[in-house]
């Protein structure tokens, strides 16, 4: 069951006028997988999600949700989807309970299971105490939770969340991330974000979008290693000279950040930190603090998008040159 494919999109293209905003995107999602869609503003993340959730119709391509074709059986296909758009679709003058009940009815939750569905969704999103409140009076974070509750009320196989943590405070972000991880166990989740830490924390897989295309896709762990350089920052109150530090097993580069703080880069395989700490204890360097350098997606992301951009710039330049040459050739 774990390998069941819940969402299968093939060769999606969407035009806005004559401009292609989504170009030939294919995507597969398995049950229990959390996929992060990453990209700069205007890359086409939201449009992709709108296509997948059936709000927009692709100009070409095919979407299958749990085996139902979105174009041929929209009703069955949509029943398997829960979607939270960028702005949560909330009726501000309704009570939370009424709104969720309405959403459940729209998604054909049977009347008998209504109370249960409501309490499960509320418990998952931490809304137990907010049931009687009017949505318009809730804080942004709570409104976002109601938006997520609306998306999962019918226990959909595929949950699509468009920037679920935007505008929330750190505590709320943590809660919602925990919720998404929990959702990821039973459902398939796609979320879009431009926060890289989010992807690091919760996604199994990453797809990076730019100019309406997927330019890079991999597991998020592998992607981290792309921008990763093993190393750490260490504070030594009685440091030896740099040459001594360089001589420690596996060290590639040592940089003195201040008189007592050193940034040390080393081979991934070598256990340099341990070696250094042992030496420090032996020689009395008074090691105080050792912070591993975070291999962060930010670097990887910039690296990937820049590569792509330079490639495109090169191409554009070539085209420009070609265009410049052409008039000369043709009198």
């Amino acid at each position: 069951m774990s390998a069941q494919i819940t969402l299968n999109a093939r060769n999606l293209t969407r035009r806005l006028g004559r401009r292609e905003v989504i170009r030939n995107i294919s995507l597969q999602l398995k049950r229990g997988e959390v996929l992060g869609l990453l990209g700069p503003n205007g890359a086409g993340k939201s449009t992709t999600m709108q296509l997948l959730s059936g709000v927009l119709i692709p100009d070409s391509g095919q979407i299958e949700i749990c085996g139902f074709d979105m174009a041929l059986n929209p009703i069955q296909a949509k029943a398997c989807i829960g979607y939270l758009p960028e702005t949560p679709p909330l009726y501000r003058d309704m009570r939370v309970d009424d709104f969720l009940a309405y959403a459940a009815k729209l998604h054909r939750v049977p009347r008998a299971g209504m109370t249960e569905a409501l309490s499960i969704a509320k418990a998952r999103c931490g809304l137990q105490d907010a049931g009687r409140k009017i949505i318009g009076t809730l804080s942004k974070g709570y409104q976002q939770r109601v938006g997520i509750a609306q998306a999962i009320i019918h226990q959909p196989d595929v949950v699509i969340l468009d920037e679920p943590t935007v505008g929330l405070d750190p505590a709320q972000i943590r809660d919602i991330r925990a919720l998404i991880r929990e959702l990821g166990r039973a459902h398939s989740v796609i979320l879009s974000t431009h926060l890289l830490s989010e992807v690091e924390n919760i996604c199994d897989r990453v797809e990076i979008m730019q100019h309406g295309q997927f330019i890079y896709g991999d597991t998020s762990v592998r992607m981290q290693s792309l921008g990763h350089q093993a190393g750490f920052v260490v504070t030594l109150l009685a440091p030896p000279d740099l040459a001594t530090l360089k001589a420690v097993a596996g060290v590639i580069h040592v940089e003195a950040l201040s008189a007592t703080r050193f940034k040390i880069l080393h081979n991934i395989e070598a256990s340099t930190a341990e070696a250094l700490l042992t030496l420090s204890a032996q020689q009395g360097w008074q090691a105080q603090q050792l912070t591993p350098l975070q291999g962060n997606l930010e670097d990887a992301f910039v690296q990937i998008t820049q590569n792509d951009q330079t490639k495109q710039n090169d191409q554009n330049r070539q085209n420009d040159q070609m265009n410049k040459i052409k008039p000369d050739l043709m009198p």
Partner: protein, 247 residues
């Protein structure tokens, strides 16, 4: 599913205080007209009684009053229809309906029926007021029922038109003003056109209501109202479907 949406529309109308205010104000206006009509009727009643076949209270009080109600509805319906889709579009809540496993037909019909039910309440309230006439005189129930049916059909066709205009825009105000303009245009066709242009006049809903108002239940008028509403609803469904295509 249609009923779910209709129920929600109906209920959401009553959560805003302005709805109650409008209902109250309307009832006041209706009562005012009613009393004015009554007054006029009572003054000429003795003279009317000398006629061979004198018009009763239904004909001289109820029918003109309901004619006025029809006219007021023309200005009132756009106020309610404007919100139906335009506001959902503006608040970006339309997405909830678009991603739910329901068809555009169900969305449109749900919204149409929900509002129609509400507007029927207004008509019903007015009719109940007229029924108080039965305390003092004999009522022509047939005329009253024909009027009620005509008013209901007229409201349905106004609502359908308003709903269509509401699907066209994201601004409720734009939807309201354009609906009002269209309804006034249709009314002007009836009022201002010369007697010769029968074909043009036949387009106007108010003309078709007049036969109901005078107690005539004609198939062609019923057909006109049903067709008018159906066409507007179909256009609205089409527009909603196009949202998926054009964004």
């Amino acid at each position: 599913m249609i009923l779910t949406i209709a129920h929600k529309e109906f209920r959401s109308l009553f959560t805003t205080p302005s709805t109650w205010l409008i209902l109250g104000a309307l009832q006041f206006i209706f009562a005012w007209f009613f009393l004015a009509r009554m007054d006029a009727f009572l003054q000429v009643q003795t003279q009317l009684a000398q006629l061979l076949n004198p018009p009763g209270a239904t004909q001289s009080v109820a029918a003109p009053l309901l004619g006025t109600v029809a006219f007021i509805l023309m200005m009132l319906v756009p106020v309610f229809t404007m919100r139906l889709v335009a506001e959902e579009r503006r608040n970006q809540t339309l997405v909830l309906l678009m991603t739910a496993p329901i068809t555009s037909l169900e969305i449109i019909l749900g919204k149409f029926l929900g509002l129609l039910l509400f507007l029927s309440l207004i008509i019903a309230a007015c009719l109940i007021m007229l029924l108080t006439l039965a305390l003092g005189t004999h009522l022509d129930l047939g005329l009253l029922l024909t009027n009620a049916a005509g008013l209901f059909l007229l409201t349905a066709c106004y609502t359908a038109l308003g709903l269509y205009f509401s699907t066209l825009t994201t601004q409720p105000i734009v939807a309201a003003t354009s609906t009002l303009a269209a309804l006034f245009g249709l009314w002007l066709i009836d009022v201002a056109s010369t007697s010769g242009s029968v074909a043009l006049k036949a387009l106007s809903p108010t003309l078709h209501f007049q036969s109901f108002n005078s107690g005539l239940l004609l198939g062609k008028d019923i057909a006109y109202f049903l067709l008018f509403s159906a066409i507007c609803l179909l256009l609205a469904i089409r527009r909603l479907n196009n949202t998926r295509v054009y964004g």
